[in-house]
Symmetry: C2
Subunit: 229 residues, 2 copies
DNA sequence: GGACATAAAGTTGTATGCAATGCTTCTCGA
DNA sequence: TCGAGAAGCATTGCATACAACTTTATGTCC
């Protein structure tokens, strides 16, 4: 792993943490001396982040962390509604027993955490959910589809999404997982695709709904970022 | 425009021309001394080409021009069948008269060239067709959708595709354009999306069809696979 | 007081040199 | 003759220095 790779990861993490807030500039020299590296690997990392859509390059002015608008979020969901069902449509005839078992395990763990319902569990559920989707993408066996999804499903959106679910919505989401597994185990791609479509549209509804008041207190910056239009 | 931008364009063009054949290595130093530039801007251009999927980076071995397999082509069409209809679905309620006029002009020019039917015309039709699709993408007004399509619809595939059309298929394609314009002018997104889906599937069929009969001798197994669907 | 011009500072863009890494080839030994 | 190891070579990875460009601030002139 090269230095540029590490820098790429570090900057990405910092953007997610809010350490580099949306709209702020990421200076090559600043990070360079902080990480004790020259500007060269930082430049390369920033270029990758630009092409991945995390920051935007302003000519002769630096790399600015992109600010997500409501419209951006809607755009992403519009594309996910198309692409994620395609993932399971492809996965259905290709998936093997081993993968199905893994999905089953993940679903079970998520359901268990869903019962407790505290805030730490929600974060853990989000992680497991990411692994669930990653398993599906792997089963779809389409490098381009995988790359497209990685490009658009940026974690700033999906990460906090579970916190916006009501209890019943969370339950519904768990049901989707189970139904997906059933459809996939029967090799029924269209069934699976329909469930996935509902799954994404449910996430979209929760995401686009105005947040509860506590969200504002807990993470005002993020909320503003998401709601700015 | 920076030197790196120019190098990016130059290399891309050369890949399209076949000047850099698939599987060959693009050396930083070689291009550098040829264009009388240092390796730095060439490096940057190559990185962008890697992230755009034109070349692949082999660690410590250089940048290799990607070789397209039949499977890659199928993957791309599978995604285009999803994304391109979405373009016109979005465009339908957003398109304005000016854009419709432009589309009409393009369609007319293509039809005129279609009549002559010689080989030079086919190239010209391909160019006009690209502009036609570009107009639609612009009307869709979705930067992410645009970027996704630019990423996957790489010219190596779409460029020669018209040469594979029979005369009647070419005529069919022109009909699609007209029908698209009608649907869009009425604001009927689903109609437009259906036409576009047929348009892409027709292109796919022509593309995946064995070229001139030599394909059969060369790779009979492949042909069977292609005709199964 | 305002506007324009000039200069200075800060940032990215490029060149060059050196270090590190992986592969190939040649040689030596069994 | 075959295999293993070491050396050399080619290439990328990184650091540093310099150039070009843009913005901003300040001073002067109207």
């Amino acid at each position: 792993m090269t230095a540029a790779d590490r820098v790429y990861q570090i900057i990405k993490t910092r953007i997610l943490n809010g350490q580099y807030p949306a709209g702020s500039y990421v200076r090559e020299a600043t990070i360079g001396q902080e990480l004790e590296l020259s500007r060269t690997p930082i430049r390369e990392a920033l270029r990758r982040l630009v092409s991945d859509g995390w920051v935007e390059a302003i000519p002769h002015h630096g790399a600015r962390v992109v600010a997500w608008t409501q419209r951006d979020v809607e755009e992403v969901f519009e594309l996910r509604v198309l692409l994620e069902p395609q993932v399971v449509r492809r996965a259905a005839p290709r998936i093997n027993a081993e993968c199905l078992t893994a999905l089953d395990d993940l679903a079970e763990q998520m359901e268990a955490l869903c019962e407790s319902g505290d805030d730490a569990s929600v974060d853990e559920i989000a992680q497991l959910n990411n692994r669930f989707h990653a398993e599906l993408v792997a089963a779809a066996d389409s490098p381009r589809l995988q790359r497209l999804l990685e490009t658009i499903v940026q974690i700033p959106v999906s990460r906090r999404s579970f916190h916006r679910y009501t209890r019943s919505e969370l339950h519904c989401s768990m049901q989707h997982h189970r139904e997906l597994i059933r459809a996939l185990s029967l090799g029924d791609g269209e069934w699976a695709a329909s469930v996935m479509r509902a799954h994404i549209l449910a996430a979209r509804a929760a995401q686009l709904r105005p947040a509860a008041g506590d969200e504002e207190a807990r993470e005002p910056a993020l909320r503003r970022r998401l709601h700015r239009a």
